[in-house]
């Protein structure tokens, strides 16, 4: 076989064209990997807080907590249904919460953006063991104290511990702590006392959803059947994990599709770039290739060697692009969640599968971009050696 170092050194010998081609491929891989990483980040953020043994109860027909509303007296009825886990004192484990969207001023950036506000009972933190206060303290029940999600910190006015902001005009609340929850969407929410939210924003006697902890994931069907049996109440029961998957589906499909479409069109450009580079390289190496043919190297070995050369070039570009995409993990990205119409902050999640796929994509670009030039190289006549 033609030694690999021949092709490798030939790539390195043409520094400017190699760099330009690798940059084109790196750009495509960067776009693709970033889109996939963002999609993974969205799934992680919106899906991280789900538990298989949690059920969420909302008004029938509501696909999001924001659209659901029912009487607070129903909370007791829901939690009395069979299958709900009870604590040491025999009380059912669950939370009835009210959610709203607040329009708040952004920090350092003129304009107003929606923020997700969750009115929570005293047990909200205990109900979600992964959620914790990382700075400051938990709010006192029934007070005007709130927790701000970690990812919202520094993005809105008055969101630091010790500062305050208005739920509505002349209805101020003070930030006493920062909430962290393993990167879930709760980190993009403001948590306030449920009664403060109700009275402050005119939601007296109402809740948006009830989350119930089940004795086990297997109890879900019985719980659902019981809660949904009373058609007058008009409840719909969903597993929390399913609910959150649906929440993330739209956004993550959108981001993946957008990224893939952009990457696809970019990749055509990058492949043409790789093709031009290889054609140029082969044109200037006619005598070398002719010599290899004269020495007795068969056509297929020439074809393989040049395909390999283009693949290595592409993989090099791909690795650059993937490395740049990995650096995106330090960047957070805010966008409007289509289901809550409030700002949610995502991070890019690099996974081994995404990185591998990006490199495979780069390799595919190399093979497709290099195929025609490699065929041309294989067709170089050995007589070229004599010219």
């Amino acid at each position: 076989m033609i030694p690999f170092r021949y092709n490798l050194r030939s790539i390195l010998a043409r520094k400017a064209t190699t760099a330009a081609t690798a940059f084109g491929i790196a750009l495509v891989v960067f776009v693709l990997a970033s889109a996939l990483m963002l999609s993974a980040g969205i799934k992680k953020t919106l899906g991280a807080s789900g538990r298989a043994d949690n059920a969420i109860v909302m008004r029938t027909g509501s696909d999001a907590e924001l659209n659901s509303s029912f009487d607070t007296t129903s909370v007791g009825l829901v939690l009395a249904a069979p299958g709900v886990k009870r604590d040491d004192k025999g009380a059912p484990i669950g939370v009835g919460e009210v959610v709203l969207v607040l329009a708040l001023e952004k920090l350092g950036d003129p304009g107003i953006t929606n923020v997700f506000l969750r009115g929570v009972p005293e047990t909200a933190l205990a109900f979600r063991p992964s959620a914790r206060v990382v700075s400051g303290r938990a709010p006192r029940p029934g007070s005007d104290e709130v927790l701000v999600g970690k990812r919202l910190r520094g993005r809105f006015k008055g969101f630091e511990v010790g500062q305050s902001f208005e739920l509505r005009k002349n209805r101020s609340v003070s930030v006493v702590g920062i909430l962290e929850d393993e990167g879930s969407s709760y980190e993009s929410e403001v948590w306030a006392d449920v009664d403060t939210v109700r009275t402050g924003l005119g939601r007296e006697g109402l809740v948006s959803s009830v989350r119930a902890r089940l004795e086990s994931p297997a109890k879900f069907d019985a719980f659902k059947a019981s809660v949904e049996s009373d058609k007058n109440l008009g409840f719909e029961v969903t597993r929390e994990t399913t609910f959150l998957e649906k929440q993330s589906e739209g956004v993550s499909i959108f981001v993946t599709a957008l990224g893939s479409v952009i990457a696809f069109f970019f990749s055509i450009g990058a492949m043409i770039g790789a093709m031009i580079t290889m054609y140029g390289s082969i044109a200037s190496r006619q005598r070398e290739i002719g010599t290899l043919r004269a020495l007795g190297f068969p056509r297929w070995q020439i074809l393989v060697a040049f395909l390999l050369e283009c693949s290595v070039l592409s993989l090099f570009g791909g690795a650059l692009g993937a490395a740049a995409a990995i650096a995106m993990r330090f960047v957070s990205f805010s966008m409007i969640n289509f289901t809550s119409w409030s700002e949610i902050v995502f991070t890019f999640e690099p996974t081994p599968a995404i990185l591998l796929m990006s490199l495979m994509f780069a390799l595919a670009m190399g093979v497709f971009g290099g195929l025609l030039p490699a065929i041309r190289a294989a067709r170089v006549s050995p007589i070229q050696a004599m010219r």
């Binding site: 030694p3 021949y6 005598r287 050696a385 004599m386």
Partner: protein, 226 residues
């Protein structure tokens, strides 16, 4: 075919078609090359010497006639069989040396051995021996750009002999060299024929170079005149 005939060309013609016109480059040519001889092929530009060399070297095919090398008619071989035949039977020396610029002298010389079943250590050993024969054992790790023209051509000669071919074809091997370097190369070719029994066919324009050959064939308008 006598015992000592290495190459026997009979009734060789080569016709090119260009724009519907037929261009006869070689017409019914006969030529014998004896084993272990250093023979030169001379002639004016366009006389067909490069075409003849290419056909004998299995790089091009005749329009009619036969080329027998060690009794085998190579004009009947398929393209891939011809490539294998070249790798086993022939060594090439080109006017512009044709070394791979990104490979060292040793790696360039090793190239033809990559088509054999030899292992890495054995390939390296043989390439070193070939470089020693041409007097470049001190330049093994040098790249072509670090060598003079004469040294580059000597590396090319080492590459041409490394697989121990029966025939060496040389296309204007001294064309790009100064007189001293050209002399050195010609001395080396003489030695290869005399000491290693190689059959060498050299195309040249240079009468001084041709004088060093044991026999000179003159080609004019596609036919041998002597």
């Amino acid at each position: 075919m006598s015992e000592s005939t290495m190459v026997r060309v009979r009734g060789l013609s080569k016709i090119y078609e260009r724009g519907g016109e037929q261009l006869k480059v070689l017409s019914g040519l006969d030529l014998d090359l004896a084993e272990g001889t250093f023979e030169a092929l001379m002639g004016p530009s366009g006389s067909g010497k490069s075409t003849l060399l290419n056909i004998i070297a299995g790089l091009d095919r005749p329009s009619s006639g036969t080329v027998e090398v060690k009794g085998e008619d190579i004009s009947r071989l398929s393209e891939s069989a011809l490539a294998t035949w070249r790798s086993r039977t022939l060594g090439f020396i080109f006017q512009s040396y044709n070394l791979m610029p990104v490979l060292t002298a040793l790696e360039n010389v090793e190239l033809p051995l990559l088509l054999t079943k030899l292992g890495g250590a054995e390939r390296k050993k043989r390439a070193e021996i070939a470089l020693r024969i041409v007097g470049l054992e001190q330049r093994m790790d040098h790249y072509p750009r670090q060598l003079s023209g004469g040294q580059e051509q000597r590396v090319a000669i080492a590459r041409a002999i490394v697989n121990d071919p029966a025939i060496i074809v040389a296309d204007e091997p001294t064309g790009d060299l100064d007189r001293q370097s050209a002399d050195d190369i010609l001395t080396l070719l003489e030695k290869l024929a005399k000491d290693m029994n190689k059959t060498i066919l050299m195309v040249t324009h240079d009468p001084v170079a041709a004088d060093r050959a044991t026999k000179v064939h003159r080609l004019d308008k596609g036919a041998l005149s002597s």
